[in-house]
Symmetry: C5
């Protein structure tokens, strides 16, 4: 298995280190190729390179997004690029983006970043392997935060449909 990782010098946490650790735990012989770019907007270029030139089976993109409207639009534009790559080449790309408006507390942002990077690294391996995730469908899983669970669970499974 050949996995691509794209990350940025803009980010404030080295998420790739954690993602790589997870991948190596799961797939010790995985080949990991990494490209670091300045910011999120260059990640489609790097992801394409990893898929087309390096023939990676999937790519994990680790981004960090500021708080302004400009940052949000940048996020949308680059995400669209990552979706287009998936449509064109058929390889899964998961983007792990940490948004600075997710928390005022840098410690919390740090933890969100690590947790999200680790969990999505595992998710990417599963998508590449074609693992059946349907047993988790609708389970309210979260990356970067604790899982919220399915709504039915909230209601003690006693909830009757209207």
């Amino acid at each position: 298995m050949k996995i691509g990782i794209v990350d940025t010098t803009f980010a404030r946490v080295d998420m790739a280190r954690h993602a790589i650790e997870e991948i190596q735990k799961l797939v010790p012989r995985a080949q990991i190729l990494r490209i670091t770019v300045p910011g999120f907007k260059n990640t489609p270029w790097a992801a394409r390179k990893l898929i087309v030139e390096q023939e990676c089976d999937g790519v994990l993109v680790l981004g960090w997004i500021g708080k302004t409207l400009t940052d949000k639009l940048t996020y949308a534009v680059a995400s669209m690029g990552l979706v287009l790559l998936q449509i064109e080449y058929g390889k899964p790309i998961i983007d792990v983006t940490v948004h600075e408006d997710e928390s005022e507390d840098p410690k919390e942002l740090y933890n969100i970043a690590i947790d999200r990077a680790r969990k999505h690294a595992v998710n990417l391996v599963k998508l590449i392997r074609g693992e059946d995730l349907s047993k988790y469908a609708g389970k309210g899983l979260r990356q970067g935060r604790p899982d919220v669970g399915p709504i039915l669970e909230d209601l003690g499974d006693k909830f009757i449909e209207w």
Copy 2:
């Protein structure tokens, strides 16, 4: 008939179970293929897989969208991917998205999800079959909520154009 279903572990309701029930009622011999991905942004990848590799005749995408601007942009980006797939491959894709800002009450969200998934499962079958839906055109049908009906009905059909 070969129907693809894409859903997520992010969602808080297992909408696929309900959608599959509807499809099986309508088309007992339908072949149903399902891919569960982590979140809405990976649904174009999965939908493409079901159309290109599995040759599905149509795909139902079941998503769950948070409340923030980031979530809304994610929704737009992935939806654009699903539209692009329809343009490229000519197969119908209906996305059933439940937005957390549709209700503060989890019970209501649950019911919206189930109702929308069921009704759109039926809609997808109709689109694949090429059924003529024009008798319902302009009728104010809704998925996830009761139908609102046509405006003329509101006015007791007595409304005269200005």
Copy 3:
């Protein structure tokens, strides 16, 4: 002439009926093909079908858009799909969209819908015929509302450029 019409069961007015009436008045022998889909997001799929499989010369898309940000994004995404189809296939597509935030009064929305559908049906025929519309350029024509006219007219044509 072969004209495609795409409309939705979501809409609260049967705009197609009015559009078809206009087309038949103008081009009695026009062949009209209609596909009704659940909502605006499936209109690119249907428009593509009418252009690629049915070889329509142009398509009128009749949509109805809710008031929320989600609805607005849905509008943008599907509209983008309709623009892409025009770029890919070179056939004109006019979308007639009625937005629920255009009026609080259902009667007014009804009239907007009818007027816009009728006028754009005529516009589509003109685009397909390649009619020269330049004599109306800059004239402030509106669909769904009365024309606002050119600015110069407001000023009694007496306005002198600064």
Copy 4:
């Protein structure tokens, strides 16, 4: 030189008349082809026609955009189409859009429209001719308004970098 012009019946000023005047002053033997469409959203279709079927060397698109969020999204969608055409065919397209929220005063809107159309008509000719505009780079040129000039000029060229 073959120049395409696309304008709309929605606009409240006949910008094309002014643009054509400028083009004819600069390139008396230019061939000018014009398509008028109902609204901004149909301009990509017309621009494509002028580039692909009429082999224009560049296109000037003259649009008029309302004040609502719907209008802004429409602007973004059609602009995206014009960017895609430039990427696909390599011909320059300049869009001259006048936004109704640029001024409350119709006279001012009128003047913005004329000035922008005239200046961008000249710009398009320069792009088609491959003229080197680098001597104006960073000069704060504006269309529709007086030039704002470079920041250094504001500061009497005495500004020292931090």
Copy 5:
């Protein structure tokens, strides 16, 4: 090495001069090709020209974005074009955009522009050379502003994960 530069007459700072200085310092024999266009929306056309017709190895796009919603949408649309070019041709494009809402003070905007242009010129050379930037990954580097550094540094590297 062949580097393309695209800038605008709309910008209020001649960023290209500074970017070129940096490139020449790093790669004295680099061939630099520059196209100046009126505004940001024409930069995808120019970048494509530099990549396709001039065979540049990468392009630096220098833009200046106003404060209104229209300007922000224009930014998003043209940025999307630049991402699409990177996906289609596989050459890196870095856009250096200065947004007028980044500061009320023109001197500060001036300094943001120069710093961002210089740093991203260096970044582009590194991407073209295929330099490994992973040692800076997650380091909170900024262009236009001082680096913010990684979160762990803020906390004196004493921070323990939750």
